[in-house]
């Protein structure tokens, strides 16, 4: 019990005394996971929309792959991204291993199927006739997609939240491709693992608290958009 109380109090002190290292870790976490989420949205929303609105041979296989991808183990992703970026690997020449960019790639691989799968579900939940009605109103293809996404905005924001959640809470892949290098690739989750293994519980609790508060803030913001009553 003392461990927790002491941990909590030290965590608060650390946060409010402006520990430079802690703030660097927080900032890098936001930067890496934010970028990864953004990329996964750019890939996943169009992909999910396409899968929801078109029919082609092999579509079902792709959909089941996407659904499987929603539960992709981060360790497996970490392993494959490491192999890809390894000095002698196919993308080794990019020299990205153990950089924040490598972590962005890994987190993006984890978040994209989540965003794709939830976008697919969101768009498929719309009345299929709505698409015909929008086209019948004289919409171009782009206008139609925009209106459909607008109609599905609540579940689409859920996709954004789930994608960000998947990216920022992931640890296995980040350690493998980032290496948890102090000042370079150390993020909240990898730092928590390290501090815990050192028995440095106060710092670990502080990091976990920050992670929770961060997720709470981001999701509170997105929820406020999602649940906003539209002005009439």
């Amino acid at each position: 019990m003392d461990l927790i109380v002491e941990g909590l109090s030290r965590a608060i002190v650390l946060l409010f005394t402006g520990d430079a290292e802690l703030w660097r870790v927080i900032w890098l976490s936001l930067l890496v996971s934010g970028t990864a989420t953004l990329l996964s949205l750019l890939l996943g929303i169009p992909a999910g929309t396409f899968l929801a609105l078109t029919d082609f041979p092999g579509r079902r296989i792709i959909v089941s792959l996407v659904n499987t991808g929603m539960g992709l183990p981060p360790i497996v992703v970490g392993l494959f991204v490491t192999i890809l970026l390894w000095r002698s690997g196919p993308l080794g020449f990019l020299r990205l291993l153990y950089t924040p960019a490598a972590m962005v790639i890994a987190q993006c691989v984890i978040a994209t199927p989540i965003v794709t799968g939830l976008t697919l579900a969101a768009m498929q939940a719309l009345n299929p006739r709505l698409r015909l009605q929008i086209l019948a109103l004289g919409a171009t293809r782009f206008q139609m997609l925009w209106l459909l996404m607008r109609e599905a905005r609540l579940p689409l924001l859920a996709a954004v939240m789930a994608g960000f959640g998947g990216a920022i809470s992931e640890v296995g892949a980040s350690i493998m491709v980032g290496g948890n290098i102090q000042g370079q690739t150390r993020v909240l989750t990898t730092a928590t693992v390290m501090e815990t293994s050192r028995g440095n519980f106060a710092m670990a609790i502080a990091l976990s608290l920050v992670l929770l508060v961060l997720m709470l803030c981001v999701n509170a913001f997105l929820t406020s958009i999602q649940q906003r009553k539209r002005p009439l």
Partner: protein
């Protein structure tokens, strides 16, 4: 010159239209023309291909085979479908509103077309008022009742001033009193604006209320297309006859013809019909239930009706304020009579009655 005038009158033309789904032909229309300013009502049972036909004509579904012309322009792969759809409007059975206010929904099509704001405002308010939903303008569309939502959907279509309006069972989802009111409203708007309309429904009364011409679509085929009185009075075949409310359709042979009256043998009986049909001809004898009178055997005196057949009651079923009676005269005849008459005759199955109908009430279709 002749052709130019013709294409000016015809706004939409289809030729050899075939739509297949999973290898099955769901629509097969060799030819169809819609004239400017007319209301073409297509009736048919559920699953007849009505919506498929409407979606195809509205350029929302590509036919498997066949060609379409809109305003003389052939619809091929190079044609700008969006530009053509912007000259049309479609209202579906479900209102299909977006999660916007009523006003924004009605203005949506105009907004998609880039109509300037002032013009958009003017037209949106005009149609909100015309359809009696102006006071709902700021209400979210998801809070509307069925009737209000369908009025919004109709206003959204009318606001586009389309050259052709497609209505896909727009009244089917409404409760009875609302339905009558909305049909009257839409009928008035269509008459006032003279807007060309293609209207599909499974309801004969709706088709009669609005249609200048009525097409009967059954099993993906347009079995008859003509003025309402022709389709309902002289259906082209037994399927159409059954669909337009003729409940007695029986096969027979013409055995004599004299002075415009054909005598037709049906089972072991002879029926007289006002028709120019010569002996030896195989026909379908069609009779509307409301044209059949029932008499009790002992009161059957003289009457001007040429046909009198004795038979026995097979079934008595209430039909709203009336009673539908099936009588076996060697072949089944259906009569629709008032409840009072049914009580007076105290009809019960097995009872003998006399079936009477005029020769002019009988419609013969060649087999």
């Amino acid at each position: 010159m002749e052709e130019a005038r013709d294409s000016n009158r015809t706004i939409l033309r289809a030729e050899g239209l075939v739509v297949q789904r999973a290898g099955r032909t769901v629509l097969d229309i060799p030819a169809l023309e819609v004239s400017r300013g007319e209301v073409l009502a297509i009736i048919g049972p559920n699953g007849a291909g009505k919506s498929t036909l409407l979606l195809t004509l509205a350029l929302l579904l590509s036919p498997t085979e066949g060609r379409l012309w809109f305003d003389g322009l052939p619809i091929d792969r190079r044609v700008d479908r969006v530009a053509l759809r912007r000259r049309m409007a479609v209202v579906f059975q479900e209102p299909l509103l977006l999660d916007l206010s009523v006003y924004e929904n009605v203005a949506l099509g105009l907004q998609l077309r880039g109509v300037p704001a002032s013009e958009r405002r003017r037209r949106t308010w005009y149609w909100l008022e015309r359809l009696g939903i102006a006071e709902l303008a700021q209400r979210p569309a998801r809070d509307l009742s069925g009737g209000e939502a369908q009025r919004t959907s109709l206003a959204r279509a009318f606001a586009l001033s389309p050259e052709i309006l497609f209505l896909d069972e727009p009244f089917a989802g409404l409760d009875a009193p609302t339905r009558v009111e909305v049909i009257d409203h839409v009928g008035a708007v269509i008459r006032d604006t003279g807007i060309t309309t293609v209207f599909v429904t499974h309801d004969r009364d709706e088709a009669l209320a609005l249609g200048d011409r009525i097409g009967v679509l059954i099993g993906g085929r347009l079995l008859q297309l003509d003025r309402p009185e022709v389709v309902f009075g002289t259906p082209a075949n037994p399927e159409v006859a059954a669909f337009v409310g003729i409940e007695t359709v029986v096969p027979g042979h013409v055995i004599a013809y004299r002075d415009g009256v054909a005598s037709v043998q049906v089972a072991q009986r002879v029926i007289e019909a006002v028709a120019e049909m010569h002996p030896g001809r195989a026909v379908w004898v069609c009779l509307r239930p409301e044209d059949v009178t029932l008499l009790s055997e002992n009161t059957a005196g003289e009457s001007s009706a040429r046909n009198r057949l004795t038979g026995h009651v097979v079934r008595v079923r209430p039909a709203g304020t009336q009673v539908r009676v099936t009588v076996d005269c060697g072949f089944p005849v259906v009569a629709l009579i008032t409840q009072t008459s049914a009580q007076k005759l105290s009809l019960i199955p097995g009872q003998s009655v006399v079936v009477s109908f005029k020769a002019s009430a009988v419609h013969l279709i060649g087999r």
